[in-house]
Amino acid sequence: MRITQGTFSYLPDFTDEQIQAQIQYCLNNNWPIAIEYTDDPHPRNVYWDMYGLPLFDIKDAVAIMQTLSECKATFPQHYIRISGYDRSLGRATTALQFIVQRPDDEPGFYLDRQEVSDRQVRYTIRSHSVTRPRG
């Protein structure tokens, strides 16, 4: 099941040039970039692991593409996303965030139904990638 979260996730996967252009757009807006990865794409899992430090003070997207390719080499079967953080006063939030790498096999989620009192049903979503981790 293809994960759709963040910007552009309904579009076909970006090529490197397109990723670089998006990163350059962030940098031109003065948004520092962070590269994050995870093996658990659960929609409630907002805290992905950051690859290295946030990439402050960088002007050219090529520098970030280099770090990104290091990250891809280290985690070839993880989800990797790029986020651009707008630190300006009054915004102070993630301005753009998009997935740049997905594993070859995206196992999707399991929907758990729990019967409780008064015919109520509680739903839980579990990521298959976490319950049945690879290797």
Binding site: L55, D57, I58, K59, D60, V62, A63, Q66, T67
Partner: protein, 303 residues
């Protein structure tokens, strides 16, 4: 720009190319803002011309290796190395040799770590910041400390050399420092010497040039000399040049800062009412009060 290989007779309007690349504007600005430095300006113009021709050759499918652009700027303090480096970054950007044209200034502290394993990430970080721009390493010879064989500077030098070779498209390195010490530095690191194409020396300013610089600064800051104070400032410079820690244009700027301080104090002490032009006028007394006239800059706290 043509897509077909150039034949012998293709016409290229050099004037038009030169004008449209806005190098001329940048060089004019350099000329106007920096007094003197004739050899440097000539050199920069030559480099710009070479880069432009290389660009043209490339556009006409003639074989070109990307020219090596790393440079070394040598000269005493205050001769304008950083300012010229900033302009150089703009020129390289307008010719398309660097993608962004920003200047990252680094010194030994920014590159060399304090313990094992600290240097590589620090240097890498700076190199990353410099991508797409110009990396200006001030007092580069401090990177190399032969007296301490376990110094981590060597590690930074090696990373720098690799990056200068492998990422030639990504950034341009400019090393700067005193002439003599840079020469020894290059002697002990032949790798650097061979990777640097342009060695530019910044000569000291002559007295006349210093006076012109002072005039320019005073004008830019909306002050003015009168005839007496101009003469006094010339005297001041004449004596200051002889004294230790003279740092060319930087000393001129510092001297002017102190003169402005004395001018403000004089006005307040005098009290009463003044006219607007008094706010701008530098009096001879403001200049003459300098300690330089009374036995030397050694008495002054800052050079």
């Amino acid at each position: 720009m043509t897509d077909t290989p150039a034949t012998q007779g293709d016409q290229i309007d050099l004037d038009q190319v030169w004008q449209s690349s806005d190098i001329q504007a940048l060089l004019d600005k350099l000329n106007e803002e920096l007094i003197g430095l004739v050899p440097v300006k000539t050199r920069i113009r030559e480099i710009a011309a070479m880069l432009l021709v290389a660009r043209l050759r490339e556009q006409h499918q003639m074989s070109t290796d990307r020219p090596t652009l790393h440079m070394s700027f040598t000269g005493r303090p205050g001769t304008g190395k950083t300012t010229v480096a900033m302009r150089m970054a703009k020129i390289l950007h307008s010719l398309g040799y660097v993608r962004k044209g920003h200047l990252v200034v680094a010194s030994r502290d920014d590159l060399v770590g304090q313990y094992v394993g600290h240097t590589a990430p620090k240097t890498k970080e700076i190199l990353k910041k410099a991508i797409g721009g110009v990396l200006f390493i001030d007092e580069a010879y401090y990177l190399y400390r032969p007296e301490n064989e376990r110094d981590y500077g060597q590690e930074a030098i090696e990373m720098l050399l690799t990056a200068m070779e492998n990422q030639r498209d990504d950034f341009v390195v400019i090393l700067a420092g005193y002439k003599e010490r840079m020469d020894t530095f290059f002697q002990s690191n032949p790798g650097f010497h061979s990777r640097i194409a342009h060695h530019v020396h910044f000569p000291d300013y002559s007295l006349d040039e210093l006076v012109q610089i002072a005039e320019l600064m005073v004008r830019q800051q909306m002050y003015s000399f009168d005839d007496d104070s101009r003469a006094a400032f010339r005297d001041y410079l004449e004596q200051r040049v002889q004294q230790p820690h003279f740092a060319n244009a930087r000393s001129v700027r510092n001297a002017l800062d102190r003169i402005k301080l004395r001018q403000a104090n004089r006005l307040i002490r005098a009290g009463g009412s003044i006219v607007t032009s008094d706010l701008a006028r530098i009096d001879v007394e403001d200049v003459r009060a300098s300690r330089v006239f009374r036995g030397g800059a050694s008495a002054e706290t800052s050079a």
